[in-house]
């Protein structure tokens, strides 16, 4: 099992520098994100009401955040009435404790898992492994990442950084595939299928997340593509679902909008292949014991932020990372978080709280591509800029920007700025402030501009 993930926050520029050296990673990412980008563009452009759907989805999530406290209680009441056992967890530790208690009570040594970011966020696999309970990932890409002892690098396509020959090698090493296995996707899928089938049939317990939690019915919804989720959610006797409190939607009707925007934004499909919805327990059908853990883990604090709270509207479609030019070059690992890409850059620092992931809000050129594709219209660039303003700054950096601000706010200053630009002074000042020698950083791949002798202002005033 990999190491716990959230909480280790290397500086993004340093992690990105390492990732950029991996030319195989760059090729895989460019191919994979380019393919998904194209599919998403086709299935959203074909809808005449796509922008209305986005606005509707945004409205639903905004209402959810505004009424979250009431909706959570409503959800709990309805889920309990249907036979589910509802737990409230304010932290990762409290959520893990629930899973551990359930596993111990049933005497299981392992459980199967539906792909779930929330369980990755709390480091569930590692924590359970430490107490002698194995978590088996059953999503194909999660399985690949797990046997490679790595972390997912993409919300939706966890093994996006691996190509099929790398996957073939992993299957030979870890799943006992023959040495002469070819890197044909169908062959590789059948090896994984045979391996996973026995896991499903043996499992007594499963752990999942949820894409949506419907308040007015107390139902949970899992959206997946492989059918592994359906197996996990129906075969074992005991099911524990860990659900971030922001996953609530008010009503069953709201699901209609979400099930249109989510598949088109994430996989570029018109309709999702496997959608499993369950409401508590049912006699002789599915798990006999159903637990739901409502997880806070920094969400209430984020909800209290007037600008930043919009990050909680995210439905984890991953469209933002597929269009992000930064993500496309670095991949997900450089973000050091379960939530990479543009959404990760605004969600991770807020979920972790002050002093964490401080370089992530700067991991963007503010190009705006993420905002244009977000199905719930999260203004990611504006939140990035807001987080930069509320985060810490070095004293010299601030002094340099203050000096530049004084300079660029009047005519005399503008003339001084021209002289500075001519002689490189502001760059040198900014250089000591940013502590990475910006002139050197710039000049490695770019020539410095030639600043003309005459500024525009000089020209205007002497013509």
């Amino acid at each position: 099992m990999g190491r716990a993930f959230v909480g280790i926050q290397p500086s993004f520029p340093a992690a990105a520098r390492e990732a950029l050296k991996d030319s195989q990673l760059r090729t895989n990412l460019a191919h994979a994100t380019g393919t998904i980008r194209g599919k998403r563009a086709r299935v959203t452009e074909e809808l005449p009401d796509w922008e209305f759907l986005r606005e509707a989805a945004r409205g639903i999530k905004q209402q959810t955040l505004a009424d979250l406290a009431d909706l959570l209680v409503e959800f709990e009441k309805n889920a309990q009435a249907a036979g589910a056992i509802v737990h409230w967890a304010s932290s990762a530790e409290e959520a893990i404790a629930v899973v551990r208690e359930v596993a111990e009570r049933h005497g299981v040594e392992s459980f199967v898992k539906v792909k779930s970011l929330t369980t990755d966020e709390i480091g569930l696999n590692e924590a359970m492994n430490a107490v002698g309970v194995d978590a088996y990932e059953t999503d194909l890409a999660e399985l690949i990442v797990q046997i490679a002892n790595e972390h997912p690098s993409h919300v939706l396509v966890p093994a996006i950084h691996k190509n099929r020959s790398q996957i073939r090698d992993l299957f030979i090493e870890h799943l006992g595939a023959n040495e002469d296995t070819v890197d044909d996707p169908a062959v590789l899928a059948s090896i994984a299928r045979a391996h996973l089938r026995s896991r499903f049939l043996d499992a007594k317990m499963a752990v999942s997340g949820a894409n949506f939690a419907i308040a007015d019915t107390g139902s949970l919804v899992v959206v997946e593509s492989e059918g592994n989720g359906r197996m996990c959610l129906t075969l074992p006797e005991v099911l524990v679902s860990i659900v971030g409190i922001e996953k609530i939607i008010p009503s069953w009707e709201d699901l209609e909008v979400m099930m249109q925007v989510l598949p088109r934004s994430s996989t570029g499909e018109r309709m999702n292949p496997y959608t499993t919805i369950w409401t508590g327990t049912a006699e002789h059908d599915g798990p006999a014991e159903v637990h739901i853990v409502l997880l806070d883990n920094g969400r209430s604090r984020t909800l209290a932020e007037p600008v930043g709270r919009d990050a909680l509207m995210c439905i984890r479609c991953s469209a933002c990372m597929n269009v992000c030019p930064v993500y496309e070059r670095t991949g997900g690992h450089a973000y050091g978080s379960v939530y990479p890409g543009p959404i990760g850059a605004i969600l991770t620092p807020q979920l972790l709280g002050p002093g964490q992931a401080e370089t992530l809000p700067y991991a963007s050129t503010l190009c705006g591509a993420c905002y244009d594709v977000c199905p719930v219209m999260i203004d990611i660039p504006s939140i990035l800029v807001h987080l930069r303003a509320t985060g810490p700054h070095g004293g010299t950096e601030k002094a340099a920007f203050a000096e530049v601000a004084r300079t660029l706010s009047n005519a005399r200053g503008m003339r001084r700025a021209h002289r500075w630009a001519r002689f490189g002074l502001p760059l040198a000042r900014l250089g000591s402030a940013l502590r990475i020698g910006p002139i050197r950083a710039w000049s490695r791949s770019r020539s410095l501009p030639q600043v003309p002798r005459e500024s525009f202002r000089d020209w205007w005033n002497t013509r």
């Binding site: 993004f12 705006g368 800029v385 005519a411 910006p438 791949s445 202002r457």
Partner: protein, 245 residues
């Protein structure tokens, strides 16, 4: 009556890329527009807002508001600066707590035009009578495309330049990697993005790259010069004004 506009030169244009701004003046005057240049102007404040210092941008917004007070229309040859004026300036003004500055900015912002918006929407022109017999790649800067939202106006103008061949480039609307201080704070990623942009440009067969934003052209031009590629960068205003030499 002769149309009149006030020119916002943008700080980086005024100081480091005067040719683009001079071209803007010459183009507008050739089209019969009376151009004024309020001397009190400086920067729109975007660099400070985007770098996490919105309060430091307040004096810049104040001088912008004073400079353009009472002007009918304000034209700037930059998608990025116009985008920032439209989407950030008011929130900076609000941080000042100065209600008169807020109302001042509220009154000015709707009168700001990106150059191509002014030409196409206000003057009703797509053919400005320019001649430029070269192969040109257009880089739709992120902020002109997704913040100021100038739409197809630059393409409409370029297609009507006599002799100009607009070449296709792969992933044209992908960011060049500049992003202000991103280009130095994350210089490795910035360079990786630039590398792909340069590949797309050089393989397009273009002799010139043009854009609405000198900051992107500084990044792309810096990369082209570093590679000794021979492809030149020019602001769209320079093509339309016929001032490229």
């Amino acid at each position: 009556m002769r149309p009149r506009v006030a020119l916002f030169a943008t700080c980086v244009g005024d100081v480091a890329f005067p040719n683009a701004i001079i071209a803007t003046v010459k183009l507008l005057e050739r089209l019969g527009v009376e151009v004024s240049f309020p001397q009190a102007q400086g920067c729109c404040g975007q660099m400070h807002v985007n770098s996490g210092f919105p309060d430091l941008a307040i004096p810049m917004v104040r001088s912008f508001a004073e400079a353009f007070s009472g002007c009918d229309l304000i034209v700037a040859p930059s998608g990025s600066c116009v985008g920032s004026i439209r989407h950030q300036m008011l929130s900076v003004a609000r941080r000042s707590g100065d209600e008169s500055l807020v109302s001042h900015v509220q009154e000015i912002v709707p009168r700001v035009r990106e150059l191509t918006e002014y030409l196409v929407d206000d003057l009703g022109l797509v053919d400005v009578g320019a001649v430029f017999p070269h192969r040109v790649a257009y880089h739709p800067s992120c902020h002109s495309l997704r913040v100021a939202r100038v739409g197809t106006r630059p393409y409409d103008l370029l297609r009507n330049v006599e002799g100009l061949e607009l070449v296709e480039q792969e992933n044209a609307d992908s960011c060049c990697g500049f992003g202000g201080t991103f280009s130095v704070k994350n210089s490795d990623v910035s360079s990786a993005m630039l590398t792909d942009k340069l590949d797309a440009i050089t393989s397009s067969g273009a002799e010139f790259v043009t854009s609405l934003d000198v900051s992107c052209l500084m990044q792309i031009g810096g990369g082209l010069a570093h590679e000794r590629s021979g492809v030149r960068t020019v602001h769209l205003a320079e093509i339309l004004a016929g001032t490229v030499n």
